[in-house]
Amino acid sequence: MIEVVDVLLAVVASSVGVFFLRAYQTGIGMVRRIVRQETLHAADVKPGPAELAGVLRAAGEPLMSLSGQPAVAIKRTQYHTYQAKNDSDGYRTLSVTRADATRVELTDASGTCLLDLDRVLLFGPTSSYAITGANCKAKHPEIWRQVSSEHADGVTIEAVYIEETIIPDGITGFVSGTAEASDELAPGDDYRGVGRRLKLTGEANRPLIVSAYDEATVLEMLRAPLKRMVIVACVTFAIGAAAIAIPWLVAP
């Protein structure tokens, strides 16, 4: 006594399950890449996929996080509430994510490798801040400039909410990316570039992973959201199966 609506429910549930499985598949490639790749010493890196573990240090001036901790890279997701003049209602803006990075070098016992922090996936300690508009204006002028640039005059910014992930300067971390020749020469080499330095960089479909944690923690952080996709997919497949099985079970 399976009816059209049951078939429809099963098809929709299965499609949703497949959708979430696809979301799982797109992330699991990165996990497999890290698992298969051996962690090398900086001196042994050759062009191609590479993983390194060592101290991440700013080659120049480090960035400053909201907590005042020096960092080599910062990812900030922020939104704010504001009130327009002659309007009793408050509004919130869409969240905006932006990242800043400085020049970074990874150093281990064997040597140093440059990191090109473009197309990067950051894993580091995350903090959340809720800053009043007045405080933001006084203490974080750059953020204030970004926020206030979205509005015309006559708008009062009530509060700014920020979630900040940082890669602290000097932390022992883990990176995974693709090694390629950089434009910089190794110290002591001439312009012919015989000893051009290698840098680790990211590509569109293989981002550079820069983590303030070790490899195992990065893998766990990558796997956790994927596991959730699998659970949701399994639940939706079960709903689809029930849509077909129950009419069959209760058929007179």
Partner: protein, 260 residues
């Protein structure tokens, strides 16, 4: 007026981490509640599946096929002849639904079969009979009449005993089973008549067939689980979307703006 303070941008990671498990538990719960609600119907349907026609059945419930015959002088409040009937006045005001002046005449009914006439004795105690006209009615009872929806109809005015409850925003409903209506009766034969059986299904008059009653019961179970399925799927979509947003945020590939 100060704007409402929204929560922090990202839901706490712990909640997102638990969300799929909560989804799984809630979905199991939804189906569990549906199964609990339908336990009696499941048992009833299973019992009906096992009932065989009277000529093939051993002791216990059996299906007797024939036509329903009531007292020759039995008429409905609106004056039509019927083997049995029941009627009531219902409120037409959706704000204050109600049923008034319930009358019924379901005793002294027999099943006329090729082998002879079998009085349906359990109908004589007509106060505790569950009358079902479609799958949305109450859960199965010990004594049950399934008639299908087409024997129930509204009538004009408030004839006979229904006149006591006449009023504005009220209408009369009559459920009349004509003399000679084809029916299947599940009962236990005893002393030349049909008695309630000791085990399920105890007693059922199905018009026209037991199969139709089973289809209606299965449909009722089915509808409940269908609603459970749709609710679960909507929930799975919502929680899945939240998890997807969280996943996308955690796997957000960035291009630092200040890096040259």
């Amino acid at each position: 007026m100060s704007p409402e303070r929204p929560p922090l941008p990202a839901p706490p990671q712990g909640l997102i981490a638990l969300a799929p498990w909560v989804l799984a538990v809630v979905v199991v719960g939804i189906y569990g509640v549906a199964a609990l609600m339908m336990t009696a119907d499941f048992a009833n349907l299973r019992a009906l599946r096992n009932v065989r026609p009277a000529d093939h059945a051993a002791n216990g419930p059996a299906i007797y096929t024939g036509t329903l015959v009531g007292p020759a002088d039995r008429v409905t409040p609106s004056g039509e002849q019927a083997a049995m009937h029941w009627s009531w006045v219902r409120s037409t005001d959706s704000d204050s639904p109600g049923t008034y002046c319930v009358t019924n005449a379901r005793d002294q009914v027999s099943l006329s079969t090729p082998e002879g006439t079998l009085p349906i004795r359990w109908l004589d105690d007509s106060t505790s009979i569950s009358v079902r006209s479609n799958e949305s009615d109450d859960a199965p009872a010990t004594r049950e009449i399934f008639t299908g929806p087409n024997l129930e109809r509204d009538i004009k005015g408030f004839p006979g005993a229904l006149a006591t409850c006449a009023g504005d925003s009220r209408a009369s409903v009559i459920h009349s089973v004509p003399q000679g209506t084809k029916a299947e009766v599940i009962s236990c034969a005893q002393d030349g008549g049909l008695e309630l059986c000791a085990r399920e299904p105890h007693g059922l008059i199905a018009i026209p067939t037991v199969k139709a009653a089973m289809v209606a019961k299965a449909s009722r179970i089915h509808t409940t689980f269908r609603i459970a399925g749709i609710a679960s799927l909507v929930l799975a979509l919502g929680i899945g979307f939240l998890c997807l947003v969280a996943r996308n945020r955690s796997l957000d590939v960035l291009r630092p703006r200040d890096y040259a």
